[in-house]
């Protein structure tokens, strides 16, 4: 019997399951971020336990009561939780079966201390809920305007908190000239609390006027980021070195800094209680990793992990490591100054866009040798900043306010997930194609004045954009159709299938109106996840308008097909926004894109028609949320080339980039 790793790490039955009011309550460590994961896991749990979906209720992640399943990220939730829930259900049926009228009562009577690793599970039952479209459990509250998000919490005695961030990275608080109601200060960390939200907002403005700041960090020139990325000290990640030959073709691509830009500014709630045995800190957070956050809070605040409890509460989509964890520490610091009362902290829009970790700027240079219409050697070199600064990732808490305390807990430089976790900067650095001898290397710039961390797809967004743009360039140079050229270099049948389906459904080869173009992009996410091909249709004249996206993916067995399609569509639309609109702006001292006018994202009227198709397989289920981003970017750039005959290699692919590309042709 092979035990699922998440069961081995969390072997106690009661950590995963309890019965209340005749309903099976299943608790996982994965969290709902708007991706519908708790509904998919509810389907898996119901089938595993042998009951209808409606008999299972999912419980939000909790550091004391629930399993530690690490981070909800990397499109891994179904892959990691599926086997764990199947094992759980098999053990429960082995101990409490058969599934009849008395079943739930017998489950309720099971010893919560039961060791899940010591019981042979009953054989699996046929799937009933998995593969079907079950209504999302969380959506009615969200659509009907009921309290559901973290900032909707209104416990008795609630205080509202606000934090005043420095006016620029690296600045220190020199003085606070006036008394401000509700002031809390620790070094350069400064905030206010008030009983009423309106008073907290007013006090924040008073505080802003009263504070004097000094110092700051020098930021790079936003117009020369590729040069900046290539300069200075790097950590080298050798991915593959098969001795690639001298290239006959070479090209460089880049992306700017981006930001998660959640519609809700991050928030956190905390309550600090002093007791004889020492303080107890309770935190409500929309973190992607409640256990790592608990440890980071404990280290920062000089507490033990047992003194801190973190419960997940839903909030807006985060799309990666945004400021959720930072806001939790802010709440804890304000709550420490007001023991016995819950403090709810909400960030401002400006802070969310300028102080949350950014998705790093990147650049890549690709080279290839083409002989007789075939690629015979390939090189790929990427320069980036680290793609992870998550709490605990380098053994340091990594929480923003920690660096501002009188006794600071500095932020470690961002790093990258290891190869075993699919890399960061080098994610999808190796093409799926047969390209002869290969050399693939990453160079991660060690120091940055701007904090960077994970945003959906990590380095795969730029690497796939580069690879798939470059393939089109090579195909056109060789006089080949981009689809045929790809298929000629592709042996993997699942890859060939999604490409062909995307071409068929996307109208590949059909005539288009003047000024329109069509382009293709493909990748298998992390080389082991979902296969995804995208056909983009654009209208490009003065500006680039993406009109239509056809997304075809093979995610293995889709647990929740409509949810998977929703993720693919959303991923493709968000990537369209990144690709044609987005760029974090800054001068040499501060980030200047601090509102929705200076950091515009795709609007309703600009949103392309998008059709996502799953090609059915019964291969193991993999995630869908990060499969479409890289292929979409490449498909758009290739479609712009098809429409205008110009190649844009530096994102964003906006009107200015098109003009530059035309001028340089």
């Amino acid at each position: 019997m092979t035990l699922p790793p998440h069961v081995v790490a969390n072997p106690r039955l009661g950590t995963w399951l309890h019965v209340a009011d005749g309903v099976l309550h299943v608790q996982v460590g994965k969290v709902e971020l708007g991706q519908g994961i708790l509904t998919a896991l509810q389907q898996l749990a119901a089938d595993a336990l042998g009951v209808p979906v409606g008999d299972v209720r999912m419980v939000a992640a909790h550091t004391t009561h629930g399993p530690d399943q690490g981070v909800t990220a990397g499109s891994l939730s179904v892959l990691q939780s599926g086997p764990a829930l199947r094992h759980l259900g098999g053990v429960v049926r082995a101990l409490a079966g058969p599934v009849d009228e008395g079943y739930v009562a017998r489950v309720a009577a099971l010893d919560p201390a039961t060791d899940l690793t010591a019981v042979t599970p009953a054989p699996p039952l046929p799937a009933r809920a998995v593969g079907c479209d079950v209504p999302r459990a969380d959506l009615p509250d969200k659509v009907l305007g009921r309290p559901r998000y973290l900032t909707d919490l209104r416990p008795d005695g609630l205080l509202h908190g606000r934090v005043l961030r420095p006016p620029r990275p690296g600045a220190r608080l020199a003085s606070v000239s006036d008394w401000v109601p509700g002031l809390v200060r620790d070094g350069s960390f400064v905030g206010v609390v008030a009983d009423r939200e309106a008073d907290a907002d007013r006090a924040l403005e008073s505080l802003r006027r009263a504070c004097t700041w000094e110092g700051g960090s020098a930021l790079p020139d936003e117009d020369h980021l590729p040069d900046w990325l290539r300069a200075g000290e790097h950590e080298v990640v050798e991915v593959l070195d098969e001795g690639a030959g001298a290239p006959t073709h070479a090209a460089s691509y880049s992306k700017p800094f981006l930001v998660h830009a959640s519609i809700a500014p991050s928030a956190g709630m905390a309550r600090w209680d002093d007791a004889a045995a020492g303080p107890l800190l309770r935190v409500w957070s929309h973190s992607q990793a409640v256990h790592a956050l608990r440890d980071a809070l404990a280290t920062t605040l000089g507490l033990t992990a047992e003194q801190v409890e973190v419960q997940h509460v839903e909030h807006a989509g985060c799309y990666g490591h945004n400021a959720a964890d930072d806001a939790a520490l802010d709440a804890a610091l304000l709550a420490r100054a007001h023991p016995g009362r819950p403090v709810l902290v909400r960030w401002s829009r400006g802070d969310e866009l300028t102080w949350a970790p950014l998705s790093p700027a990147m650049t890549a240079t690709l080279g290839a040798t083409v002989e007789g219409g075939r690629i015979t050697s390939w090189s790929h070199e990427t320069w980036s900043l680290g793609h992870s600064a998550r709490p605990g990732y380098r053994g340091a808490p990594g929480l923003l306010a920690g660096a501002h305390l009188a006794d600071p807990v500095p932020l470690p430089p961002s790093t990258d997930p290891p190869a075993a976790a699919g890399h960061g900067s080098m994610r999808n650095g190796v093409p799926t194609y047969d390209v002869g001898t290969r050399r693939v290397v990453g160079r991660r710039k060690v120091d940055s004045p701007l904090r960077t961390s994970a945003m959906r797809a990590l380095g795969a967004y730029l690497n796939v954009f580069a690879i798939e743009s470059f393939l089109d360039e090579l195909a056109l140079e060789a006089g080949a159709d981009p689809l045929d050229f790809r298929l000629a270099h592709l042996a993997d049948e699942r890859a060939r299938h999604v490409l062909r389906e995307a071409a068929r459904l996307g109208g590949w080869g059909e005539a288009l109106p003047e000024g329109h173009g069509r382009g293709l992009g493909f990748a298998r996410y992390k080389d082991r996840g979902a296969y995804c091909a995208v056909v983009a249709q654009v209208e490009a004249e003065a500006d680039v308008r993406v009109r239509r996206l056809t997304v075809v993916a093979d995610v293995g067995l889709a647990v929740a097909p409509e949810g998977a399609r929703n993720q693919l569509e959303g991923g493709a639309v968000q990537a369209t926004s990144w690709t044609v609109r987005e760029r974090v702006r800054f001068d040499r001292t501060r980030i200047t894109s601090d509102d929705w006018e200076s950091y515009p994202i795709l609007r309703f009227a600009e949103t392309p028609e998008v059709a996502a198709h799953l090609v059915g397989t019964d291969a193991p289920s993999v995630g869908a949320g990060e499969a479409a981003q890289g292929p979409t970017a490449a498909a758009i750039a290739n479609a712009v080339h098809d429409a205008l005959g110009v190649r844009v290699r530096d994102l964003p692919l906006d009107a200015a980039a098109v003009v530059r590309a035309i001028e340089s042709t």
């Binding site: 009907l144 559901r148 309106a198 519609i263 809700a264 929705w596 795709l602 609007r603 309703f604 998008v610």
Partner: protein, 151 residues
């Protein structure tokens, strides 16, 4: 004291007239359905109906709301039955995180009241001041179209 008519009820609010309507709704009246997104009237998450207009509540001072009926997302259901736009959104899973939806529902309901036959382009245009970061725009437009006739 300021008197407000919110979702058909008259309520008295003891707050400074410059306080944003959104803060009054969420913090003073406990109507947390209107979500805070930017505080600058730029994202649409907090849009409410004020008289015949749809306005961002974060950018509307309390004094301006006096004497005009305010309808929030909580006021759209009739006798406990969700508004057809809300039902259509739920039926077609036309949301991911849902944070932008409250304002969108209010704006879409107002649009269909005004233009019961609005087409996809009109719906997208009417929702253009609303930001959705999850990329559910097209699903949302399709759901609003599906709600026509019953709205």
């Amino acid at each position: 004291m300021t008197e407000l008519q919110v979702n058909g009820e008259t309520v008295a609010v003891d707050a400074d007239g410059e306080t944003p309507l959104l803060t009054v709704l969420r913090d003073e009246l406990g109507l947390v359905g209107s979500r805070f997104g930017c505080g600058q009237g730029l994202c649409g998450a907090c849009v409410v109906r004020l008289g015949d207009a749809v306005v961002p509540a974060c950018d509307t001072p309390l004094w301006q709301a006096e004497g005009q009926p305010v309808t929030t997302v909580e006021g759209l259901a009739r006798d406990g039955v969700p508004h057809p736009v809300q039902q259509a959104l739920i039926n077609s899973q036309a949301a991911q995180c849902g944070y932008c939806v409250s304002g969108i529902v209010v704006a879409a309901a107002a649009l269909l009241e005004r233009e019961p036959d609005a087409d996809a382009d009109r719906v997208a245009e009417a929702l253009d001041r609303h930001l959705c970061r999850c990329g559910a725009q097209r699903r949302i437009v399709a759901a609003v179209l599906a709600a026509r006739g019953s709205a």
